[in-house]
């Protein structure tokens, strides 16, 4: 079957791009798979994409790119005008333009594929409106329902029933979307993100290091983590915390670590292109997020043999971490409990080794081969005649 994935910007470094590339590469072992990027601003994507997958784009933003005659002047004019198709509350509204409207609708109406997978609200809504009925259209939501503003939510309620199906990352998200969409109008599937098929380095549990990774922003809760680690250091001064990432809170976090006297224990590391390698050098992953739509880092840490201590925040962590088995869930924002849980794992080496083994087994659930299998099962169900009438 021919499967087309549509991304807003496949040349960006972002979780949606990464997981789409991983899934596309795996499905391309058995299917004809292409990725269509609305925008293009580089010759090649930054993130690795399998040779088996074709990549093309609709709007070329590279400096010397030219739209061919007779559309040259029109493209230039429309690129400067705001989109009319995409709701202003779409979180990437500013990346769309009147020209992307033209290109997206034209692409959708002339689709030659069996399955179209769109990867964010703005594209899901466009596909629900314009993709022909013969194409099976899957909308993906990588974010929780609650993040959408009322205006775009009204569009979601109106148009998503015209999708063949919606996928989201967690059971909690599925329940929310099912409750929002008119009864039985659009099937909602939970399919998590897949781990790329590769040799993962495995922690030997030999270094006294707790690791954390992600953007240095409020939602990631690194301020809470550093606070908790100050308590860990009181009991275990030889343990270290390394936080990998970049972001607006970096300076503030550095000041907090200094103020708490943690300059011998906490390092704010630069982002790295080998996060798995750094995870495997550590012994515990700390997931201090205030909210986490899925928690890809947890799964990567599992694959590297790290138990995870995480806040029981909405929503991903509680569906990924099996509390007491491959990690621990701590009441949200409870810094003392987070510190005590880290200390418990640090104190009990046997427990750490046991949970590390369990973590490796837990990672298998998210192997991209298993995830691709779930996609194929869903697509078979949806393509089986008679198909549900979507109104497209």
């Amino acid at each position: 079957m021919k499967i087309t994935f549509m991304l807003l910007d496949a040349f960006d470094v972002d979780g949606t791009v990464r997981t789409t590339f991983t899934l596309a590469g795996e499905l391309a072992r058995r299917h004809d798979v292409e990725v269509v990027s609305v925008l293009r601003n580089a010759d090649r994507p930054v993130l690795p994409l399998s040779d088996r997958v074709r990549l093309r784009s609709l709007v070329d933003l590279r400096p010397d790119a030219k739209v061919p005659w007779p559309n040259t002047a029109r493209a230039e004019r429309l690129m400067a005008e705001p989109t009319r198709m995409v709701h202003p509350e779409e979180r990437c509204y500013n990346k769309f333009s009147a020209w992307t409207d033209v290109r997206i609708t034209r692409f959708m109406k002339r689709l030659r594929t069996n399955v179209l997978v769109t990867t964010r609200a703005g594209l899901n809504l466009a596909a629900a409106r314009y993709a022909p009925g013969r194409v099976v259209v899957i909308g993906q939501e990588h974010l929780q329902l609650g993040i959408h503003q009322p205006g775009i939510l009204a569009e979601i309620k109106e148009w998503y029933p015209r999708l063949d199906a919606l996928t989201c990352l967690t059971v909690a998200d599925r329940e929310d979307y099912e409750a929002t969409l008119p009864n039985g109008s659009c099937p909602v599937y939970t399919i998590g993100n897949g781990l790329p098929d590769q040799v993962y380095p495995r922690s030997r549990q030999e270094n006294k290091v707790v690791v954390a990774a992600g953007r240095m922003v409020w939602i990631k809760g690194y301020d809470l983590l550093i606070g908790a680690f100050a308590k860990v250091v009181e009991k275990h001064p030889e343990w270290r915390l390394r936080i990998y990432g970049q972001g607006v809170r970096r300076e503030e976090l550095l000041r907090k670590a200094t103020r708490l006297g943690l300059y011998n224990n906490v390092l704010l590391m630069e982002p790295t292109d080998d996060m798995e390698g750094e995870l495997a050098k550590a012994s515990i992953l700390a997931m201090s997020s205030r909210a986490e739509p899925f928690g890809m880092t947890i799964i990567e840490a599992f694959a590297c043999g790290l138990p995870v201590v995480g806040f029981d925040c909405p929503r991903g962590p509680r569906e990924i971490i099996n509390d007491g088995h491959d990690g621990f869930l701590v009441p949200p924002a409870d810094v003392d409990a987070f510190a005590e849980t880290l200390i418990r794992l640090i104190d009990d080496e046997d427990l750490r080794h046991r949970m590390a083994r369990n973590a490796l087994a837990s990672a298998e659930r998210f192997d991209v081969a298993a995830i691709a299998g779930l996609w194929e099962k869903m697509l078979t169900e949806l393509r089986t005649e008679p198909r549900r009438r979507t109104g497209r």
Binding site: V199, P201, R204, A257, T258, Y263, E276, K281
Partner: protein, 257 residues
């Protein structure tokens, strides 16, 4: 050829030890290939077919690719070993050496060796600025233990070359020193570079064995204020661009308005 090694480490004896969880087919060899010169070192996989050991202490500096050879073709050696241990790194640096060999795992899981010329430095493991002092603890790296030798810390002001000297405690390779901040406030505003001297060893204070190069921006130490005449001086340890530990002292700007 897809065998994944589960152990790739260089021991204190400068031997590279590679192990596999299951026996390899007969006739496999390990090849080290020097990136700069193309020169190679070869060693057959041991009789048990699950391990190989190579002497690497005399390898030329630079990067050496580690490859697994069958017949006439060789492929990069894959491992799931993170190839890093703080304790092993510390033990390795505990002996006198003029070159250091380290196993490096690439993001794809391929193994290489990095051979560097080294000279002794004083590896800083902890800095405690506070209560009018800056205490520093660490270990001499690549110099070996210096029993019975007195040790001194010398701070050299980068521009004026003035020095401040304090006795340091040296126990085997472990050192400990306590610097009063007044000593730095009494001089002109300056950047002070720190050295540990023990016998013929003149070792720069630096943190290089913690696998986190580029410490500027990753860590910062608090400043301490010291009266200097009518004004105040701020004295603060910091890492240079080469991860060396120095001390910055400067006059605190007078508050305006």
């Amino acid at each position: 050829m897809d065998a994944v090694a589960n152990h790739c480490r260089v021991g204190v004896d400068d031997r590279l030890l590679i192990r596999w969880p299951a026996p390899l087919p007969d006739g496999r060899r390990i090849v080290l290939r020097h990136r700069a010169s193309g020169g190679t070192v070869e060693e057959p996989v041991g009789g048990d077919r699950t391990s190989a050991a190579l002497a690497v202490g005399e390898l030329d500096p630079g990067k050496w690719h580690v490859r697994l050879m069958a017949d006439r073709t060789d492929v990069p050696l894959l491992t799931d070993d993170p190839c890093f241990s703080f304790d092993e790194m510390r033990a390795y640096a505990g002996l006198p050496r003029d070159r250091a060999v380290r196993v490096v795992r690439s993001s794809e899981g391929y193994v290489s060796l990095r051979v560097r010329r080294v000279s002794p430095h004083a590896e800083v493991e902890a800095v405690y600025p506070g209560e009018g002092e800056i205490r520093v603890e660490g270990r001499l790296a690549y110099a070996g233990p210096r029993p019975g030798e007195g040790a001194r810390l010398t701070a050299v002001a980068r521009e004026t070359r003035r020095t401040v000297t304090r006795d340091a405690r040296l126990d085997g390779t472990e050192f400990r020193v306590c610097l009063p901040v007044d000593a730095f406030a009494a001089e002109e505003p300056a950047l002070w570079d720190l050295w540990l001297d023990a016998g013929d060893v003149h070792a720069r204070l630096a943190t290089r064995l913690d696998d986190a190069p580029g410490k500027r921006g990753k860590v910062s130490f608090p400043r301490q204020l010291v009266p200097a005449g009518e004004r105040q001086m701020s004295v603060r340890p910091y890492y240079t661009g080469k991860d060396e530990l120095s001390i910055a002292s400067h006059l605190v700007p007078e508050e305006t308005g």
